[in-house]
């Protein structure tokens, strides 16, 4: 039992906190709207090695674990960095696991992404990073395919200004078929859930900081609004929610790093003993989505009318808190899927 980051992870956290502090943040996110990608920042990110960080060293990657990637993902979320790093990392890891990762993807000069939903009529709909990715890994029926080609460059306008696009899979190469295809996609999707959950924890963390900061500063009735208990109690529920979401996402990342095959995972509902990666990954996204939605909602409310104004930053976090999780699915449906993992299928 050790709930501290390793020394290497602390260093990693510091490096990427600094990177995102200078190359991301609310102003950069605002400037990157509506496309949702900051091209120059991605170029700078290549210099850090982050795009290939989670790939084996034998391929020229950094050999980082899912838990290491999660450390970076929280800092990315905390600064709402308009960079498709999570999609790139999980799709590249999937490709590398079957020996199909193109070299430019390792370096990040070509962006890869994962279609979250099975293709319909030969098209993957609402692919995250689909507007900018050259490579799309998708599940099409019982086949896992890789569609490579020019990215459309423009995103579908959306709530969170995500670089979403529909991507036709014409001429895609078949990577895997049958149960192996489904298993590989499910694994990558669980990594996406875990890292997106961690990024949502970052959103929630910053939203809480913004709300607390504003409550200390804003004066009404001759005192800071943070002196009113009604305002304090809106905010006081949040640290536990945010920390709980961080712990669960970290547990998922730990399970995904220490038991990659999932063979040793425990799912014991009656004893509240759960170490199965897929179950924890699903759970972590539900909790983090709720933490981010609640933290941004309350923080925006504490800002009063200004929270609703484009000029203030909290609205940027509010919209992404919803978009980053809902791009996969309704949390209630995710919960029913988790119930199948806990109870067996209905």
């Amino acid at each position: 039992m050790d709930l501290a980051l390793t020394a290497d992870q602390e260093t990693l956290r510091g490096v990427f906190a600094d990177f995102f502090a200078s190359e991301a943040g609310p102003d950069r996110a605002r400037a990157a709207e509506p496309s949702g990608v900051d091209g120059p920042a991605w170029e700078r990110l290549l210099e850090t090695g982050a795009p290939g960080m989670g790939l084996p060293e034998s391929l020229g990657g950094g050999g980082a674990s899912l838990a290491d990637l999660a450390v970076v993902a929280e800092e990315l979320g905390a600064t709402i960095a308009p960079l498709p790093l999570i999609e790139h990392a999980v799709s590249a890891r999937l490709l590398a696991s079957i020996g199909a990762c193109p070299d430019p993807v390792v370096g990040g000069t070509e962006i890869a992404t994962l279609a979250l939903h099975p293709a319909q009529d030969g098209t993957s709909r609402l692919v995250p990073a689909g507007a900018v990715a050259r490579h799309v890994v998708a599940l099409d029926g019982d086949r896992l395919v890789l569609a490579s080609g020019d990215a459309p460059g423009t995103a579908l306008g959306n709530h969170g200004c995500l670089p979403l696009a529909h991507r036709p899979l014409d001429g895609a190469a078949v990577l895997l078929e049958g149960p192996e295809a489904h298993a590989a996609h499910a694994r990558a999707l669980d990594e996406w859930r875990t890292l997106t959950a961690t990024a949502l924890v970052g959103i929630a963390r910053t939203a809480l900081d913004l709300g607390v900061g504003y409550a200390k500063e804003r004066q009404q009735f001759g005192q800071p609004i943070g002196a009113f208990q009604a305002v304090q109690h809106l905010l006081a529920d949040l640290p536990g929610l945010v920390d709980g979401a961080r712990l669960l996402a970290a547990k998922a990342a730990w399970a995904g790093s220490t038991d990659p095959s999932g063979a040793d995972g425990i799912v014991d509902l009656d004893d509240n003993d759960i170490t199965d990666f897929a179950t924890l990954a699903g759970m972590s996204l539900v909790v983090a989505g709720e933490a981010a939605a609640t933290a941004t909602d309350r923080s925006l409310h504490v800002h009063g009318g200004y929270g609703f104004a484009e000029e203030y930053d909290i609205q940027l976090f509010y919209r992404r808190a919803r978009a980053w999780s809902l791009v996969l699915d309704d949390p209630a449906r995710e919960c029913r899927r988790i119930a199948d993992l806990l109870l067996g299928a209905a």
């Binding site: 039992m1 050790d2 709930l3 501290a4 980051l5 390793t6 838990a67 607390v212 409550a215 200390k216 005192q223 800071p224 943070g226 002196a227 009113f228 208990q229 304090q232 109690h233 905010l235 006081a236 529920d237 640290p239 536990g240 929610l241 920390d243 709980g244 979401a245 712990l247 669960l248 970290a250 547990k251 730990w254 399970a255 509902l269 009656d270 004893d271 509240n272 759960i274 170490t275 924890l280 759970m283 539900v286 909790v287 209630a332 919960c335 029913r336 988790i338 119930a339 199948d340 806990l342 109870l343 209905a346």
Partner: protein, 386 residues
């Protein structure tokens, strides 16, 4: 990070689980709910005899707080009577931290045998959350103290051998500075215990102190230093010693009920999509509650004081427990209104029980509002409002 228990802690957990398998009978659980006394002395004694109780005292010996968490978490998950034990071991921890050799010998050593109990006398009829304002008086008389007053919510007083009593020794100073803590033997003349029944059938008590005379050797901590002794006790209590995973047994009972219960829409309740969603949401909250509690234990194990983290765990866990109880009571329909021992009761009456019990969890051990104040002021740095 590493979320696995150390080999030693895992072995301790295995021992606790094996103990519960062999010693926690249905009869013990039935008795605690029938009598409302969540304390079973033979069970406590057996725990001690199995060598598992020394780990239950915070800060004592070479046991670490994660083992303490493991013990109370397993007791809570199993639905064992542990309320009396938790208070006794909390008292043992406070004595270990601030008590004299006399108190260690007279009380701590005996508590560790599992054959004695301690209860807490903090709250009064007119002083609950504002506990520093209590008025029970202790007046020095030579080497003795004379105590007069009344305490409320003195749960287990009818089982206890001692009460940890918060008294006012100095009325003319700011309220936090005039408090002194005592360990008072319950057989001291002048103490009266009156039962206070509750809607969950859990028994608590009011206790009355009329010219209760004890020697100075029963003082716990410094004269007028009672508030800092309270602080030690609260740091032990919040989070680590049970109370943050009550929805684990609830979910086990609900799942057992749903596996057989017919759905009004046909089929079984376990296949109802909304119930499945709510089971998953409760399972998720149970994981988060466990992790927040484990974090508090881990902070204590690494030399920190997890008071605020304990507040966070309690805030989250009690809110989600109450939400889950509400969901499952509604979904069980009229059958969920039936209690223990009633033919046709959903989940053998557990849903009715949890719906009765759950409101108190956001009140006792520090209300939700007091915990929010703690987090707002001491974690978020917002202005103090009182």
């Amino acid at each position: 990070m590493d979320f696995s228990l150390s080999p030693r802690t895992a072995e301790f957990r295995t021992e606790v689980m094996a103990f519960l398998d062999s010693h926690l009978t249905d009869e013990i659980i039935d008795t605690m709910h029938r009598t409302g006394t969540f304390n079973d002395k033979p069970f406590n004694a057996a725990l001690a005899d199995a060598g598992l109780l020394a780990g239950a005292v915070p800060g004592y010996g070479d046991r670490d707080p994660i083992e303490l968490y493991v013990l109370f978490n397993e007791l809570e998950k199993a639905g064992a009577p542990y309320d009396g034990l938790a208070v006794s071991m909390l008292a043992a921890g406070v004595i270990n931290a601030v008590g004299t050799d006399f108190l260690r010998e007279q009380v701590l050593e005996r508590l560790l045998t599992g054959r004695f109990n301690c209860c807490l006398g903090y709250s009064e009829p007119d002083h609950g959350s504002d506990v520093a304002a209590i008025t029970t008086r202790a007046v020095r008389d030579g080497d003795e103290w004379v105590i007069n007053g009344q305490k409320m919510w003195t749960t287990m007083a009818h089982e206890a051998d001692w009460v940890i009593l918060l008294t006012r020794t100095e009325p003319d100073v700011p309220k936090h500075k005039g408090l002194t803590m005592f360990l008072v033997p319950m057989d001291t003349p002048g103490i009266e215990v009156q039962p206070v029944p509750t809607m969950a059938s859990e028994r608590t008590n009011a206790t009355f102190y009329d010219e209760v005379r004890i020697g100075d050797e029963w003082r716990l901590g410094d004269v007028n230093g009672g508030w800092s002794v309270m602080g030690v006790a609260l740091a032990f209590e919040r989070g680590v010693m049970g109370g943050t995973n009550p929805a684990v047994p609830l979910l086990r009972h609900v799942r057992g009920w749903a596996a057989d219960a017919p759905s009004p829409d046909g089929g079984r309740m376990i296949d109802d999509p909304l119930l499945r969603e709510r089971i998953a949401r409760t399972a998720i909250a149970n994981q988060v509650s466990q992790l927040l509690t484990l974090r508090a234990a881990w902070i204590a194990a690494t030399g920190g004081l997890p008071g605020l983290e304990g507040s966070m765990a309690k805030l989250y866990a009690t809110d989600r427990y109450q939400q889950a109880v509400g969901w499952f009571q509604q979904m069980a329909g009229a059958d969920g209104l039936l209690g223990f021992g009633t033919d046709g009761a959903a989940a053998d009456g557990w849903i009715d029980y949890d719906a009765r019990h759950s409101p108190v969890t956001s009140i006792y051990g520090g209300t939700t509002e007091i915990n929010r104040n703690n987090v707002a002021e001491r974690h978020l740095g917002l202005p103090r409002t009182r």
